[in-house]
């Protein structure tokens, strides 16, 4: 048997999944794209009208940009929370580490609706935050955090924190303890140690976490609608309303394509940028 034949045969076990993805993933996405260029779902002919309608309307564009901005805000907040958590994890003994893994996994394994519901009870009228603020005399009246942008970003950051913490902790745990001791022995302060040793070496985990959190937060339909409320519209709800609500299938398809392309482009660009910067760091 020739070398090429042997190579093709070696892919054989991946064939069922490749076939499944071709039918259930690539074909639907191709048809979605095709429909977005049609006048209507079952109409023939080609048109750019839906893209023109989506991209030419400032309101639609603001929804798209706001969704991406929400993703970036959530990524920023999760980074701010995950790094201290990771540093504690790094210096923890095996028992504390096991406990931390349990605590990080627990919210990840409970349902998203449950976690979102929790935030409604925390941020809502007479919820936990209101009660605490009133008890401490910090506020005289409801804080109206539910349905606010701040509340939404905090809730999403907490809900997606595990997706940042797991890869980041993995990276931090791999850092050679001798490096840290050497740096400390040479007189590096903890802040300096963090900036010059820990931060660069943990970037692979942070990058993986950023991508997962960004992808999650931009498509978090449940949390966006329940904690964000009716006045904040993001792309997932917009697509849902246009498709199921008013049945503008082709327009919804165009909006879906634009949304998917922007998210994938940002993920790809970030990945490329990060890999270029990380060359030389052992992932």
């Amino acid at each position: 048997m020739g070398k090429a034949g042997g190579k093709a045969a070696s892919f054989l076990p991946a064939a069922p999944l490749a076939l499944f993805f071709a039918v259930a993933y690539l074909l639907p996405v191709a048809i979605l794209t095709a429909v977005s260029f049609r006048p209507d779902l079952r109409a023939s002919g080609w048109t750019l009208a839906h893209y023109a309608a989506f991209l030419g309307d400032g309101f639609n564009l603001s929804i798209l940009l706001d969704t991406l901005w929400l993703g970036l805000q959530v990524v920023g907040v999760t980074l701010l929370i995950a790094y201290p958590l990771g540093l504690v994890y790094m210096r923890a003994g095996p028992r504390l580490r096991a406990l931390l893994v349990f605590l990080i996994l627990l919210p990840l394994l409970t349902n998203t609706v449950v976690r979102t519901f929790a935030w409604m009870a925390i941020l809502g009228r007479n919820g936990l935050v209101d009660t605490v603020a009133a008890t401490l005399g910090l506020a005289d009246g409801p804080l109206r955090l539910l349905y606010s942008r701040t509340g939404l970003v905090i809730a999403l950051a907490q809900i997606y924190l595990p997706l940042m913490a797991l890869p980041l902790n993995n990276s931090l745990a791999k850092i050679d303890g001798n490096l840290l001791r050497a740096a400390e022995g040479l007189g590096a302060s903890s802040a300096h140690l963090f900036r010059t040793v820990i931060l660069p070496l943990s970037l692979p985990g942070a990058v993986a976490g950023c991508l997962l959190v960004f992808a999650g937060a931009t498509t978090a339909f449940i949390t966006q609608t329940l904690v964000g409320g009716g006045r904040q519209i993001f792309m997932p709800l917009f697509i849902y309303q246009q498709a199921i609500g008013v049945q503008r299938w082709a327009f919804a398809a165009a909006a879906s394509v634009v949304f998917a392309l922007t998210v994938m482009a940002i993920v790809y660009a970030f990945n490329r940028f990060a890999r270029a910067r990380l060359r030389g760091v052992d992932a």
């Binding site: 892919f11 076990p13 991946a14 069922p16 999944l17 490749a18 499944f20 993805f21 259930a24 074909l27 639907p28 996405v29 979605l32 779902l41 079952r42 929370i81 995950a82 201290p84 958590l85 504690v88 893994v101 605590l103 996994l105 627990l106 919210p107 394994l109 409970t110 349902n111 998203t112 609706v113 449950v114 976690r115 519901f117 409604m120 009870a121 925390i122 007479n126 919820g127 936990l128 907490q158 993995n170 400390e184 007189g187 302060s189 802040a191 963090f194 498509t219 339909f221 449940i222 329940l226 997932p236 697509i239 849902y240 498709a243 299938w249 398809a253 879906s256 394509v257 949304f259 998210v263």
Partner: protein, 268 residues
């Protein structure tokens, strides 16, 4: 040795770390406490306690039970299919750097970042154009696409730790590829396969956008049903459902060996 430590920085890190841990745990505790409220609102803390919402949930909530059953069926099908196909693919692709392997791997991993609402609409359009009725099976097909990347990630992590010389040994002793897969590869990567299946199940049972797009009254899953309840009128029964889910999760985590979830760690 430690005179150079920066006390304010260390203190800030530990305080922020402690705050992060509180933030991780707090919502779960709030939900569990909330489920024992005696009130009709989400006032927290409740003024009086009871198990009335659990009673309400178990006694007369046939729709919630039906949605939970639908979720369970879809998740079981999606887990079986994604674990079987994903494991086969991951074993082939793990650690390979040639162009076709990398391309296939990127394809299989891409649903992780492809917006699921767009995928849901894409599937709905195909089903509608092909004249296929929505069912739990069509929903499970979508969930397989969503869950497969997690299976592949877990299984390839396990497969990469395997010593490739073992397969050469099996081959030189006359084992066929299929025989070697079942007798050598599969037992060695079993922790990866099991954790892949668990994560696939959890992903499916928690998934919303594709389920939402492909849902009709017969295929409504639990998250979609709970979402609809919360959108319409903050029914406190959701707190009881949440309590049940949290309890089930903790029970499963205590039963299943925690080490299996930690990626890249050798099982002793």
């Amino acid at each position: 040795m430690r005179e150079a430590r920066n006390i304010p920085f260390d203190l800030a890190v530990w305080l922020a770390g402690a705050a992060a841990i509180v933030l991780l745990v707090l919502p779960t505790l709030v939900v569990v406490a909330m489920s024992f409220t005696n009130e009709f609102t989400l006032r927290f803390p409740p003024r009086s306690w009871s198990v009335r919402w659990y009673g309400e949930l178990f006694a007369n909530s046939p729709q919630i039970a039906a949605a939970a059953l639908a979720s369970l069926k879809v998740a079981l099908i999606a887990t079986a299919v994604s674990t079987a196909l994903g494991t086969l693919a991951a074993v082939v692709l793990a650690g390979r750097k040639d162009r076709w392997a990398v391309a296939l791997d990127s394809l299989f991993m891409s649903p992780m970042v492809f917006p699921a609402m767009s995928l849901g609409l894409a599937l709905l359009l195909v089903l509608s154009l092909a004249g296929i009725r929505l069912s739990l099976l069509t929903l499970a097909v979508g969930h397989v696409v969503i869950a497969t990347p997690f299976v592949i990630r877990m299984v390839s992590a396990a497969a990469q730790q395997m010593n490739p010389a073992l397969l050469d040994c099996a081959a030189s002793l006359g084992a066929s590829r299929t025989y070697a897969f079942f007798t050598v590869t599969l037992p060695l990567i079993r922790p990866g396969v099991v954790s892949g299946a668990i994560v696939a199940f959890l992903t499916s049972i928690d998934h919303v956008p594709v389920s939402l797009m492909l849902s009709d009254p017969r295929t409504e899953t639990l998250p979609i049903h709970l979402w609809a309840i919360l959108e319409a009128n903050l029914d406190v029964r959701v707190a009881a459902v949440s309590g049940v889910i949290v309890a089930a999760t903790v029970a499963v985590m205590l039963i299943v060996d925690r080490r299996m979830f930690v990626p890249g760690r050798e099982k002793g």
